[in-house]
């Protein structure tokens, strides 16, 4: 083992610590301001709360009430969890089929799915909200179905990349043992796809949890997810309560950080794996 150089031992960690501080700084500022009275925020954002400006948890109480945060949290969670489940299962099935059955039609479908990844949402925002409304999909259950449609492009793409590397022999053996295709898929193939499933789940969860425009346009007037509730807080009651705003921003960050710390290993691996496959 060569001895570590001074650069690696001291200078780099110091530099990185500084950078890490810069990265965390914005969130710290928001956290600090969430405990200040609402009129002391915009004018002195970098001053910590003092006896005159300390507001206790009042902002959190207002923020929770004004945005109906618990309900927003519930809808965000509900939509994200079920959309991700549906996307993982359905697009894995589709990807397996499209890879295993090679016809002109399946190749065309595959290309169509990949194509949809690139198209910006603005292209379909109006017509999609209209279609969703006509078909009665403008509710928290319908939107799950819409997310399946939108998420399938990337997910099918990622799964297909992995299915190609799964040896055919296993599936053939299962078929010979008398497994029907559905059994083969769920008992033999799907367990092998697990690493990709984690990737797909994480990428989609990050997207759906934070998505603003789709839930706003489709279900925004009845059910608000967290991003929609935050945007609404800005102009919803004729004024911006900066205190409540800060508190809600912090409340919105907490679940994300908890989720990240719990599943950190999978998330980092999943993100990296998703990219390498692409």
């Amino acid at each position: 083992m060569p001895k570590k150089s001074i650069t690696i031992k001291f200078i780099l960690p110091a530099l990185l610590s500084f950078l890490a501080a810069v990265f965390i700084f914005p969130v710290i500022i928001i956290l600090m301001n969430s405990f200040k009275t609402k009129f002391s925020i915009a004018n002195t954002p970098f001053v910590p709360p003092n006896s005159a400006t300390f507001a206790g948890v009042e902002n959190y109480i207002n923020g929770l009430a004004d945005t109906n945060f618990l309900s927003a949290f519930f809808w965000s969670l509900f939509i994200t969890v079920f959309s991700v489940l549906l996307i993982v299962i359905c697009s894995a099935m589709a990807a397996w089929f499209l890879t295993r059955v090679k016809t002109k039609f399946t190749s065309f479908l595959y290309i169509l799915f990949v194509f949809s990844m690139i198209i910006p949402f603005q292209m379909v925002m109006f017509t999609m909200s209209k279609t969703a409304n006509t078909l009665g999909l403008d509710n928290p259950i319908g939107i799950i179905f819409l997310y399946l449609g939108f998420g399938s492009g990337l997910s099918v793409f990622l799964f297909s990349g992995f299915v190609k590397s799964v040896p055919l022999s296993l599936e053939e053996a299962a078929t010979i043992d008398g497994c029907r295709p559905l059994q083969t898929f769920f008992l033999v193939v799907f367990p092998l796809l697990k690493p990709t499933a984690v990737t797909v789940a994480i990428l989609n969860a990050m997207w759906i949890w934070n998505d603003y425009l789709l839930p706003y346009l489709v279900i925004g007037s009845d059910y608000k997810t967290i991003p929609v509730a935050i945007q609404y807080l800005k102009g919803g009651y004729g004024s911006v309560d900066m205190g409540a705003m800060m508190a809600v921003l912090i409340l919105a960050i907490i679940p994300v950080v908890v989720f990240y710390l719990l599943g950190q290993k999978h998330i980092i691996k999943g993100v990296a794996a998703g990219a390498v496959k692409g």
Binding site: P13, L16, L19, A20, F23, P26, V27, I41, A42, P45, F46, C90, S91, M93, A94, F97, V101, T106, L109, S116, I118, P120, F121, Q122, M123, V124, M125, T127, M128, K130, T131, L137, F145, L146, G149, S152, G153, V156, T175, P181, F185, N210, Y212, L213, P227, I230, Q231, K234, M246, L249, A252, V257, F259, Y260, I267, V271, A272, A273, A275, V276
Partner: protein
């Protein structure tokens, strides 16, 4: 002979692909086709659309209503942020693959902003930028350059961690033997970087460029929350400009849809071109 054998799976198409395909058709395919048609029409709701030919497209380019301005703003933004995000992310990845204590902690910290949603990010940075600019008698909306650089800083903060993770994965895939061999051959640090490391992480570079280009082109939430296009729509990127044309100006729905078509073509062409070029580079090595 192989080809003639009927694949027993084939009849299971409705079971395996059906659900995804139906959702895809409803959420994406039909709206997409309708969208292309509506870009040639004048409409308020879909049912009252009247075909008007190329009129909407002509308006997009002849009218000074801001499309060209936001196109230019977007292109500048994409170029600058793609370069800066990738350079910073790559440098961080190089540092964090060294044998440094606490490197997992640093990776964790740098990755976190990427998980926070665009709307939240926008409001976080709005407070910070306004707080800084206030000392000089400005706000974020004083002129579009503040909004521009604000967005660049924001996107760097958000995406560096993500790209860093991908570059780290790429760097770790380089076999140690190659690096050792380079050392034995007496290659200097710079030469190792350009002749060994970069060619070997080309796949990561491809995907990072793809992700940063498409994400910065499509940026919407952050733009909406940070400046909402102020002042005078000059800091509105394409996605926001299209949204505003659609929903805030009545009688302009067709024009908004035409802008969206142009936007889609633009993003599609650039993304495919980039994939083609970098993939070719991968093969050269």
């Amino acid at each position: 002979m192989e080809n003639r054998k009927v694949n027993p799976l084939k009849k299971y198409f409705p079971v395996f692909v059906g659900p995804t395909l139906i959702a895809f058709i409803i959420a994406f395919f039909i709206p997409f086709i309708m969208g292309v048609y509506l870009s040639f029409a004048q409409f308020k709701t879909v049912s009252d659309a009247v075909f008007v030919g190329l009129k909407n497209y002509i308006t997009v380019f002849s009218n000074s209503d801001g499309f060209l301005n936001s196109l230019w703003f977007t292109v500048k933004f994409v170029v600058i942020s793609v370069i800066s995000v990738n350079i910073f992310a790559f440098l961080l990845a190089l540092l964090l693959t060294q044998d440094i204590c606490g490197r997992n902690f640093f990776r964790t910290v740098f990755f976190i902003p990427n998980l926070i949603g665009g709307i939240v990010l926008g409001y976080i940075w709005q407070l910070i930028f306004n707080g800084i600019l206030m000392n000089y008698g400005y706000t974020l909306t004083s002129n579009e350059n503040f909004g521009f650089w604000g967005l660049v800083i924001l996107i760097n903060w958000q995406m560096i961690g993500y790209m860093m993770v991908i570059y780290i994965a790429g760097l770790q895939n380089i076999p140690n033997s190659i690096l050792e061999a380079a050392k034995v051959d007496g290659a200097g640090k710079t030469r190792t970087l350009f002749n060994i490391i970069i060619p070997n992480v080309m796949p990561s570079i491809t995907i990072c460029l793809f992700l940063t280009i498409t994400n910065s082109f499509k940026l919407f939430d952050q733009n909406l929350a940070l400046t909402a296009g102020a002042p005078a729509n000059k800091s509105a990127m394409l996605a926001l400009d299209i949204y505003k044309t659609f929903y805030s100006k009545s009688g302009w729905e067709g024009v908004g849809q035409a802008k969206a078509v142009i936007f889609s073509v633009l993003v599609g062409v650039i993304a495919l071109l980039q994939l083609y070029l970098t993939r070719r580079k991968e093969q050269e090595y």
